[in-house]
């Protein structure tokens, strides 16, 4: 008579393990093991293991660092800068940069005759169409800056 039993003895190793894969797969495994050895030699695995074992410590540290007042300010500035970049019209920036480029080239390549420029000399210079155009550009920039600075804070 077969009595009901509930005990299982310790298990021998399974004889039904699948046979080793084809040689291409074996080669891939060998290359992967080499990669692991290299990563271990350079301490990458140990670092990752530590990060995975104790992520809270690392993240907590990073968070605490980021929330130091000075660092917080840096992050804020960076984000503000990022936002500003988002809102600036690239065409306007391009025009400004072109202007600065022209200005720099002119300043470097045009010969300075050394004469002191007085009040009337400035007025005469304004008759030069290029100088006049440049001044108008600078005045527009000043107006824009003034408008932005003068906006009520949100």
């Amino acid at each position: 008579m077969a009595k009901p039993i509930a005990t299982i003895e310790g298990a021998p190793a399974s004889e039904t393990a699948e046979k080793v894969q084809a040689s291409a797969e074996a080669a891939a495994e060998a290359e992967f093991r080499r990669l692991l050895v290299l990563a271990h030699e350079r301490g990458v695995l140990q670092g990752l293991s530590h990060l995975l074992e104790e992520p809270d410590a690392a993240l907590g540290t990073a968070t605490d660092w980021a929330t130091q007042p000075g660092n917080l300010a840096v992050v804020k500035h960076a984000l503000r800068f990022y936002n500003t970049l988002q809102s600036i019209d690239p065409r306007a920036v391009q025009e400004l940069l072109n202007g600065l480029d022209g200005a720099a080239k002119a300043a470097v390549t045009t010969r300075d005759d050394g004469r002191v420029l007085g009040f009337w000399g400035l007025l005469r210079a304004l008759r030069d169409p290029d100088v006049n155009r440049g001044m108008r550009f600078l005045l527009r920039m000043a107006a824009g800056l003034g408008r932005s600075v003068g906006k009520p804070k949100a």
């Binding site: 009901p4 509930a6 039904t16 907590g60 968070t63 929330t67 936002n83």
Partner: protein
């Protein structure tokens, strides 16, 4: 209809909403509270669009001819953004570290697509409710969209949740403000499924879904606070979280499957990460359940990774233990011993029982193994214990042994009559359809049962007849219908045979007789007859309360007779529905693991059928019918059956008269058991073969509504376990067969051409959530509603069948009480799967016997007392729960006990003579108090929902939101 959207003309369909029109034309508007399974809730206001200068909600506004809609510009866009700002006041965005950001978070995706860059979050100050073992509610993340409330109130109709609009900051409440675990919440999980954010989260996924979601909460909170301190724009972080949400797809696998528990056939995606089951996510495209689930389907999968799982074959040793063995050794031993028994005593000395939770393909291979390899017709399945009488009743009368329509027919009926079924606990998602139809559409409900369960509480008419007298009630109704001239004369004349004889057979079932036998007042019987007469369409649902009686087949037949008499077959919203209790009770018989029948109910006694299968299988098949499960027990007792192969059935617990089964299993010469666990039955085995769980294999199931659906493999089989089909093939090959299936689809390709009922079944046709309801023609066409043109008999007509009443086993002076038994919501079958789930065990930690208050008072019993129940067959010991769910001298013992409270210690050897199903429900007992509990302590903990009171509401009640003084209606924005 012609409308214009953003100035461009569009074709509109009559009756569709603006939201549907926009979606169909690829125009995005936000929509947070709308859900296709719930309809428009109108709580979020994010879908506001401009029509003729006015803002309207796109979800709730039907299109009209000539409409001009502005959905994405100007006023509409501003209104949408304002609504989103209010939403984001209620929800803190930290998507990268949120377990809900898996590519489908509605709020995250809406914020990202709308380019919203900031929020002004204000915490609400309510504590997190972590009391449930299954899910958590975080009010600070709740956007008060009401999806959960609508789902709870009007989809699954468990009526627990409501939105408290009177609070300064509205939130969801359980019942009237209870903690989740002290409420009437039955943990169906549908609220979690529909929540568009992470306010309601399944505990199993917390910390698991993302690369950085598993961080310690204290660190996560500091990180979130730090980010909130510096962020001036969502943009970079939304990009990060969106990309991370995309990358998560590599972490979490989503696999469609069919639930392994009851026969409703719920389908859903199972989310897994490595071997962990993270969550179960149903979908609106799930044909049987849409987004609904029950506690077991949603949260009951812990057993898959239980440390108790068998992972290697086991062989019995001489010294009273099992040892692990290789598959080669185990299969060789099985083949050798089966061959020895066959050589000595013939193939009919071996019996094979297929599993009701195995797949259709596995059922086919089981019967093929038995018939074509072993050479016996002794093959059966566990539906013998419960559903065979229902099948018998339908075979006799309408021809097919299955539900005559689909779940949508039940929902569409004018009247649903439930006989002997605790539907809300045994088939919760199907019960939801009945509850919903009643609540929203005025469907009438009548219940015949011994217990006042949830459906009885909700019924328009609840009849509580004496045990085992349902047939008398039904036939008395039939006679009353005839006496009043209410029978469906034209239907009877044109579509049935045998009416005259049937009519004559009802003569004895007068109201006087019915009153005397059933104990029901005649006006209740008359009232039910009138309800059936007055309804435009009646569905009758029944289950083990009918079938597990000596006259189970007769009562099932009487149900079908009554439906024929009143013309309630062959139309939408009518018919007979035996509710199959296991995932594949229907399919295991459909695919041939049934005594006397090859696949598709083709008879083994039909020489033409045998010839067809012989040609296909290349073997000569045995003649005759074979032994069914109950006859195998008798044959074993007589020494004629010497060996058995049992799959997925805990026979020592499932068969009646446990003492007798102990002798039968112990006395077998050789027993093979194929199982997930070392069950009580497996402990008797000579060889135990470890089977894979349903999540670990492919195949198909047939649900109670005859729906064939595919399950896909979500996990690899654990350890050395294998899918049942591979094991059966291994046994066959060890016995010399040359089977070489490599995938279950090949099995279906083989059997479909041999089985007219499944001729058109292919895996391609069942891809994803597609399904077919048999019979399925070769071109794949099928129909949910049967018998619209003809019944399944050669002349196409149904048959009235004369029934006979078999009196139930009576109580006596010695055994003066009546023990009823059945299912509980939280557990399944004998509990091998559910006793291994901590959450379910927390809700129902032990078995108990329900005793009526009047009986408890007369016997001096209270909650927690220990009693012994003794029947003519044996005795059991359990604790008392005093409840008015039972009345008089009728007790109730749940069937899930395995030890001293196992119900089949008490059941007798009486059977239904036609179907041979044990009469489990007919157990006269006596009860003795063994131990008094010092302080009344119910064996059900107070956290069980049965102690709480539901809170029925009409739904979200958004009008209350609109009436708030701080609410600005769209027309004023």
């Amino acid at each position: 209809m012609k409308v214009a959207v953003e100035g461009k003309p569009c074709e509109a369909r009559a009756g569709e909403s603006i939201l549907a029109l926009l979606a169909r034309n690829g125009i995005e508007v936000p929509q947070l509270c709308y859900h296709p399974s719930l309809g428009p809730l109108q709580t979020c206001d994010t879908c506001l669009v401009e029509v003729g200068g006015r803002l309207v909600r796109a979800c709730a506004t039907p299109v009209q001819d000539g409409m001009q809609v502005a959905a994405q510009s100007g006023h509409a866009r501003k209104a949408q953004l304002d609504a989103m700002a209010e939403i984001l006041r209620n929800h803190n965005m930290y998507c990268t570290v949120c377990d809900n950001n898996n590519g489908d978070c509605v709020l995250h995706n809406t914020v990202y697509r709308m380019g919203i860059e900031s929020q002004a979050f204000e915490p609400k100050g309510y504590p997190v409710d972590d009391s449930s073992p299954f899910y958590v509610y975080d009010p600070d993340q709740c956007i008060a969209c009401g999806r959960c409330v609508e789902a709870c109130q009007n989809l699954v109709v468990n009526e627990v949740l409501s939105l408290d609009w009177s609070q300064g900051r509205p939130r969801v409440v359980w019942d009237r403000g209870a903690a989740v675990d002290r409420s009437s919440c039955v943990s169906c999980g549908t609220c979690c499924t529909v929540c568009p954010v992470n306010a309601l989260m399944e505990k199993s996924i917390l910390g698991q879904a993302g690369y950085v979601t598993g961080i310690l909460k204290s660190v996560k909170d500091r990180m979130v606070d730090a980010v909130k301190e510096v962020e001036t724009s969502f943009s970079p972080l939304m990009l990060l979280s969106t990309v991370e949400g995309e990358i998560r797809k590599g972490l979490v696998k989503k696999t469609k499957t069919v639930c392994t528990f009851c026969g409703v056939g719920c389908t859903f995606d199972v989310w897994t990460r490595d071997r962990k089951v993270l969550l179960v996510q149903p979908s609106p495209e799930s044909p049987a359940n849409a987004v609904a689930t029950c506690v077991k389907g949603k949260f009951g999968w812990d057993f898959v990774n239980s440390p108790d799982r068998l992972v290697e074959p086991l062989i019995r040793t001489e010294n009273g233990s099992f040892r692990e063995a290789s598959w080669e050794e185990a299969l060789a031993l099985v083949a050798r011993r089966f061959s020895e028994v066959k050589a000595k005593d013939g193939p009919d000395a071996i019996g094979v029982i297929a599993s009701c939770t195995g797949t259709n393909e596995e059922s086919y291979l089981t019967q093929k193994l038995a018939r074509a390899v072993i050479g016996t017709n002794n093959v059966d399945n566990c539906s013998r214990y419960c559903q065979s009488p229902a099948t018998m009743g339908l075979w006799r009368t309408v021809g097919y042994g299955g539900d005559s329509g689909g779940i949508e027919d039940i929902e569409a009926a004018d009247l649903v009559v439930i006989v002997g079924s605790n539907t809300a606990e045994a088939h919760p998602v199907l019960a939801s359809r009945v509850k919903r139809a009643r609540k929203l559409h005025g469907q009438k409900l009548a219940v015949l049962d011994l217990r006042r369960h949830e459906m009885a509480e909700r019924a328009d008419l609840f009849l509580r007849p004496n045990p085992g007298t349902d047939l008398v009630v039904l036939n008395a109704i039939g006679k009353y219908v005839l006496d009043q001239g209410w029978e469906a004369k034209e239907f009877i004349a044109s579509r049935t045979n045998g009416f005259a004889e049937f009519q004559a057979s009802l003569e004895p079932f007068t109201l006087d007789y019915a009153e005397k036998v059933t104990g029901l007042p005649r006006d209740q019987i008359i009232r039910l007859a009138a309800m059936i007469h007055e309804s435009k369409g009646t569905c009758i649902l029944w289950a083990m309360g009918v079938t597990q009686h000596q006259d189970g087949s007769e009562t099932s037949t009487a149900i079908a007779n009554l439906l024929l008499l009143t013309g309630n077959f062959g139309r939408t919203g009518t018919g007979g529905y035996p509710l199959r209790g296991h995932a594949n009770v229907q399919g295991v018989s459909d695919f041939g693991s049934l005594t006397g029948y090859l696949p598709g109910y083709q008879k083994t006694s039909d020489p033409e059928v045998r010839k067809k299968f012989e040609a296909a299988w290349g073997v000569r098949l045995p003649e005759g019918t074979g032994l069914n499960s109950e006859m195998m027990v008798l044959a074993a007792e007589e020494g004629k059956l010497r060996a058995m192969y049992l799959m997925g059935e805990d026979k020592i617990l499932a068969d009646s008269d446990q003492g007798r089964m102990d002798k039968v299993l112990s006395g077998l010469e050789f027993l093979v058991v194929q199982e997930l666990f070392l069950t009580r039955t497996a402990q008797y085995a000579d060889v135990v073969l470890p089977a894979a769980a349903s999540l670990e294999k492919e195949g198909t199931f047939v649900s109670t509504e005859r729906r064939v659906q595919r399950l896909y493999k979500a996990l690899e089989p654990l350890g050395g376990s294998k899918p049942d089909w591979a094991i059966i093939q291994g046994v066959a090959r060890a016995l010399g067969a040359d089977w070489d299936y490599t995938h279950p689809s090949q099995v279906m390709e083989e059997l479909a051409p041999l089985t007219p009922m499944f001729a058109g079944v292919t895996y391609e046709r069942l891809e994803g959530f597609h399904s077919l309801q048999w019979p399925i023609a070769a071109d794949g066409s099928c129909s949910s509603c049967l018998y619209t043109e003809r019944f399944a008999f050669p002349d196409g007509k149904a048959r009235f069948y004369v029934t006979k009443f078999i009196e139930p086993i009576p109580t006596s002076k010695e055994f003066d009480l009546y023990l009823n038994n059945g299912r509980m919501l939280e557990h399944f079958h004998w509990g091998n799967l559910t006793w291994r789930n901590p959450g379910l065990v927390e809700k129902v930690p032990e078995m108990f016997v329900e005793v009526s208050p009047e009986l408890a008072a007369s016997r001096g019993l209270k909650d927690g007392d220990t009693v012994r129940l003794t029947s003519p067959a044996g005795s059991a010991k359990t604790k008392v729960l005093v409840t008015d769910r039972v009345s008089g001298n009728v007790l109730f013992l749940p069937e899930h006990g395995q030890g001293e409270a196992a119900v089949n210690r008490l059941s007798t050897d009486k059977v239904d003579p036609s179907a041979r199903t044990p009469a489990y429900k007919e157990i006269p007992v006596r009860m003795e108090k063994l131990e008094s509990c010092p302080v009344p302590t119910p064996p059900l903990p107070r956290t069980n929902p049965r102690f709480a009171r539901r809170n029925p509401r009409p739904g979200v009640e958004v009008e209350k939101k609109w009436a708030r003084p701080d609410y600005v209606p769209p027309e004023k924005r």
